[in-house]
């Protein structure tokens, strides 16, 4: 965590004018990449992600196939121009880890057993990063999977929460992420409230962790609503 003398909350308002429990402006569009089986574009404030689903499709090499279900592969990558100081192309260690936890976040929602010996490939591409990129990517992946006609138990809703200047907040932007006392990204299945992604970094009390999780689940309803709207709008 970086330290700053700058106050991140002044008079109850965050740097971008938001209240602690406010989510940034959300934009979601489904069906944006014609070649993909399913695709979506999601923006939270300035953080922007594309997700594309290819599959279920044949898996080569064959020895990676599972006889009783599809395998799920997730790949998270950031554009070199998505961050302040240009990032060299290709996934770094952080991206590899995010790919792994993203797969875990999504898998419980999918009926993989309906497609033995195939692969479902979920690709997430971050075009601009301003905090909370992994949850933005997971929301995009959720929409792309539904768009692809993959049978799902539920959509997957993702959102970050944390603490800045002794205040619990929702949806951390880049600067807040850098100077936060805690950053907790969460993904969950909205109808059963099963948590499929949970990570944390920071220094806060157990009660604050529990409160943040509760806050995220509550605010996540808004994100769920946006996902549903975006899917319905695909077919207007």
């Amino acid at each position: 965590m970086m330290k700053t003398d700058e106050k991140l909350i002044i008079n109850g308002k965050r740097l971008d004018g938001r209240k602690p429990m406010d989510i940034r402006e959300i934009e979601m569009k489904v069906g944006v990449i014609p070649n993909a089986n399913g695709s979506a574009y999601v923006r939270f404030g300035k953080t922007t992600a594309f997700a594309a689903v290819y599959g279920p499709r044949e898996l080569i090499p064959k020895h990676l196939q599972e006889p009783d279900k599809a395998i799920l592969r997730c790949y998270y990558n950031m554009a070199p121009f998505s961050v302040s100081d240009r990032k060299r192309p290709g996934p770094d260690r952080r991206a590899v880890e995010i790919s792994k936890v993203t797969k875990l976040a999504i898998e419980p929602a999918l009926f993989l057993e309906e497609f033995p010996e195939t692969t479902i490939d979920v690709y997430i591409d971050i075009i601009q990063a301003d905090g909370s990129t992994r949850v933005t990517g997971i929301n995009a992946a959720s929409l792309a999977l539904a768009d692809a006609g993959i049978p799902m138990r539920d959509l997957i809703v993702a959102l970050s929460g944390g603490k800045i200047d002794d205040t619990l907040i929702i949806d951390l932007c880049g600067k807040e992420d850098n100077y936060s006392e805690a950053d907790i990204p969460i993904a969950f299945l909205p109808n059963t409230k099963e948590i499929t992604l949970l990570q944390m970094d920071g220094r806060i009390t157990p009660q604050e962790v529990k409160d943040t999780i509760r806050n995220i689940l509550k605010a996540g309803e808004q994100v769920y609503k946006k996902q549903k709207e975006a899917l319905k709008n695909r077919y207007k």
Partner: protein, 250 residues
């Protein structure tokens, strides 16, 4: 399908009702990525490309101590096609990046002399990063156009105490020229502009030409099979002519 497309071409028609020398619908979005110093998104029909430009402080090359540096990279991101997979750029991605780079470098688009910060020590490095969002053919032309438009939106960051202050700018990237890159494909004895992916797979040959606003040719690249001299001459003329259409869009 192949015969169907070839039959249509015999009658000077294409599968999407275009004329042989007609572009698909072109959509352009400028300067929409705040993190990047410059950006553009270009669509030719369903082909969709985003280019971001980032400026960094680099050491100049020893033989050009007061000249800025240009580099161009392209990523065939897996979101764009069922045939793109995660991993380092393959030969097609590298070729595309080098073709776009050549068009910009040889035409002297960027006034690199004006990018010197400290002779022999520090210069601005301009990084053009091409990202394919959806592949429906003619990635080169779409990428080159997006790169040029991104450069026209590019701003130079402020520097304070030897540190770059991102998202605060001291001026625009100085540009001297504007090259337009056009690829012309040959099937049988027909020449087509802006091939979509299905057409691209059937081309006998394809020649990419970069034309500067003063009419000079700055770069060329032939791909696939051979061309006769008369065909090359015809393509050059066609490219120069068609470049005017794209130029209006900048």
């Amino acid at each position: 399908m192949k015969e169907y497309i070839l039959n249509l071409l015999e009658k000077n028609k294409r599968i999407d009702n275009r004329k042989l020398d007609e572009f698909r619908k072109i959509e352009i979005q400028k300067d929409f990525i705040q993190r990047a110093e410059g950006s553009a998104r270009v669509k030719f029909g369903n082909t969709d490309v985003i280019v971001g430009v980032k400026l960094e402080i680099n050491e100049p090359f020893p033989d050009t101590p007061d000249s800025g540096i240009l580099r161009t990279d392209a990523e065939f991101t897996p979101i764009a096609s069922e045939n793109f997979f995660p991993g380092p750029p393959n030969e097609n991605a590298i070729e595309l990046a080098r073709i776009v780079d050549r068009g910009i470098r040889e035409s002297e688009t960027i006034d690199l002399e004006k990018l010197c910060l400290e002779k022999g020590e520090k210069v601005w490095g301009v990084c053009i990063d091409i990202r394919i969002i959806n592949h429906d053919g003619n990635l080169i032309d779409a990428s080159a156009l997006a790169a040029l438009i991104a450069l026209t939106t590019t701003k130079i960051p402020k520097i304070k105490d030897d540190e770059i202050i991102r998202e605060e700018y001291s001026g625009k990237l100085p540009l001297k020229h504007k090259p337009i890159t056009i690829s012309i494909g040959k099937i049988g004895d027909k020449f087509i502009i802006d091939p979509c992916l299905q057409e691209e797979n059937l081309l006998d040959s394809i020649l990419t030409v970069s034309v500067r606003e003063d009419g000079k040719i700055c770069a060329m690249q032939k791909r696939k099979n051979s061309l006769k001299v008369e065909e090359i001459n015809k393509i050059i003329d066609l490219a120069v002519n068609k470049s005017k259409e794209l130029r209006k869009l900048i």
